[in-house]
């Protein structure tokens, strides 16, 4: 009968290891060897440089609209590096750093934003879903994959990525609920980059953090400095280890900032102050990590230049392959509709061929 307080478990941490000056709290820092640190840096740098190149190419009309990752490299690379190849990912559309870390060729990024399905033709052996455009819809595919792992009694895990805006979608709710109810080895990485196109984080939800949303679904939520690759990596490793042992899902909110426009079709000056962007530029994840690695003696001018050149070559080679691609077969659209083309669609294909021939776009 009495009115009393319900003692719900709630425990919300914010993790930050590496500050803007490149100083780390070594007691919290993950124990990584030099090679791993260099790989981490290289993945972040490659993401930054390809991102810059993509924007240039869009401006020159060599690809279509592009959604940049600038500023979010730590959140993308740090999370992906905590995975094994037999783990899976279910991404949204702003995870280029994750895909590069998972070993996707840069070609796929170019092809996708260049308007070819080839960009989503995930290579065999890569356990990653392609880009999913409908906001938060991919979180449910992550649920299904993690569920499959549980049913098959695997010790692998799945990460699904979404943005702060994605947390307002119904699919996110259903995915969180299923993950909790069935205790799935699924990690929600929310890249809180402060904006959903123009809509600011504070208007997306009244919740003080996005991490706390996990509490309502009965599992752990963690907030990390999303521009701190060591914190992102460390929190993801913890969540992954827990999930592998059957400990269920975790939501990690990576607090970061979208330094570029939403897409190349967007003009962010309509909804945010340059001052704010400048503030966040000081927290750039790449600069901070480079400082740290220099201080630690893992990298120096010369080795960084070596990596820069290496990345430049990789980008140049990918761009070349993209621009020299000759696979533009209009009949491609019919090739993958079903395993076997049914007669009625076959007849439409014949009609299409005749139209193309008539227009002189295909030889008889």
């Amino acid at each position: 009968m009495p009115k009393k307080t319900i003692d719900i478990e709630h425990d919300l941490t914010h993790l930050s290891i590496l500050n803007e000056k490149g100083e780390a709290d070594e007691s919290l820092a993950p124990k990584l060897n030099g090679d791993t640190l260099v790989t981490m840096f290289r993945n972040m740098l490659a993401t930054r440089r390809l991102d810059e190149r993509m924007i240039n190419m869009q401006r020159q009309g060599r690809i279509g609209t592009y959604g940049p990752s600038r500023g979010q490299e730590a959140s993308q690379v740090g999370t992906a590096m905590a995975l094994r190849p037999d783990d899976w990912t279910a991404q949204a559309f702003r995870e280029m750093g994750m895909t590069l870390t998972r070993g996707w060729k840069m070609d796929l990024t170019l092809f996708f934003w260049g308007g070819y399905e080839e960009g989503n033709a995930v290579a065999k052996g890569h356990n990653d879903l392609p880009i999913a455009v409908p906001v938060a819809s991919q979180t449910l595919h992550g649920v299904g994959i993690a569920w499959g792992m549980k049913i098959k009694k695997k010790d692998s895990v799945c990460i699904t990525y979404l943005g702060d805006g994605g947390t307002s979608e119904g699919d996110f709710h259903e995915a969180m609920n299923f993950a909790g109810v069935y205790d799935l080895p699924l990690i929600f990485i929310v890249q809180n980059n402060q904006f959903a196109i123009s809509h600011p984080r504070r208007k997306q939800t009244k919740s003080r953090t996005l991490a706390q949303k996990a509490l309502a679904y009965g599992f752990e939520g963690v907030q990390v400095d999303g521009n701190d690759v060591l914190a992102v990596y460390s929190a993801t490793c913890d969540a992954v280890a827990k999930a592998r042992k059957g400990g269920g899902p975790t939501l990690i909110e990576c607090v970061t900032y979208r330094l570029s426009m939403h897409t190349t079709a967007d003009d962010p000056t309509r909804y945010r102050e340059d001052k704010e962007v400048k503030e966040w530029e000081k927290r750039d994840p790449l600069i901070r990590f480079a400082k740290y690695l220099r201080n630690k003696g893992v990298l120096d001018d010369e080795s960084i230049e070596g990596i820069e050149n290496d990345v430049k070559d990789e980008i140049a080679a990918a761009v070349k392959r993209y621009e020299e691609y000759e696979g533009l077969d209009p009949l491609d659209s019919f090739k993958y509709i079903l395993a076997e083309l049914p007669p009625d669609i076959q007849a439409q294909q014949d009609e299409f061929v005749a139209a193309l021939q008539n227009e002189g776009k295909m030889s008889h």
């Binding site: 098959k152 699919d171 395993a339």
Partner: protein, 326 residues
Amino acid sequence: MASINMVKALNLALAEKMREDENVILLGEDIGQDGGVFRITEGLLDEFGSDRVIDTPVAEAGIVGAAIGMSIYGLRPVCEMQFSGFAYQAFHQVEGHLSRYRTRTRGRFSVPMVIRMPYGGGIRAIEHHSESREALYAHTPGLQVVVPSTPRNARALLRASMLSPDPVIFYEPKALYRAFREEVPDEPETQPLGKARVVCEGNDITLIGYGAMVRVLTEAAEDLSDQDGINADVIDLISLAPMDTETLVQSVSKTGRAIVVHEGPRRCGIGSEVAARLAESALDHLEAPVRRITGYDVQFPYFARERAFMPNSDRVVQAARELLDY
């Protein structure tokens, strides 16, 4: 040979496939403990356990979206939408992902899964429980849409759907669930997806339909034969996507007249598609316009008015007489 109704036939198809393939799992609301609101999954929880017969929260997008992930991971999920009227909560997953995965990834990932859902009127249900919106799915590229019409073909079609390498929307005419029994063979059988079925033959007119309307057509065919000496070809489309144009054209080339019947609204409905195909491919044979007897382009009424609303054999007989006099 056992004589069973459509509920039992669907249950049998699921059980048979689940015994053969441990990757086949079921997801849906109230399908486990409760056996499904129409009892299609009765007894399956006991036989296969809660890892394979999964009672989910009330979350249609969750069911379909999760099943997409499962199926990419190598499972063969069969989802139940409790009613087709609530499948719109998952329609974005169907249109946005289910139908597209093969194309999007150039064949790297396909989504071999089945979504079963009961549709159609005639069971005196409240709003959202009687509509027929198969055209929405048939309009969506990348989906196969099939509708059974008897216990035997329900079992065979569901089995074929579970074997298909691509997604199938399995639209169940709930008015037929317990309407009649039919002998089914002891061994599982499949019915090819994409093929129509000639139910009975005649030279004067072609009557085309699917699902619960097939019974309306056979009744009309009997009346026409008894009362007017008019003999009808009755074609059960079975597969709405892809559609078996060949069988339609063959029949109409012989009869020169066609009536197409469905419960769903007329505008941009399956009947429009049938009429267009006949106009494109059988115009030379047509002796009269193709007639559509369908739901009207208004809301399906609450059940007090549904009997008057739904297509019936009298309307088919009347239209057939008009076409023969044309």
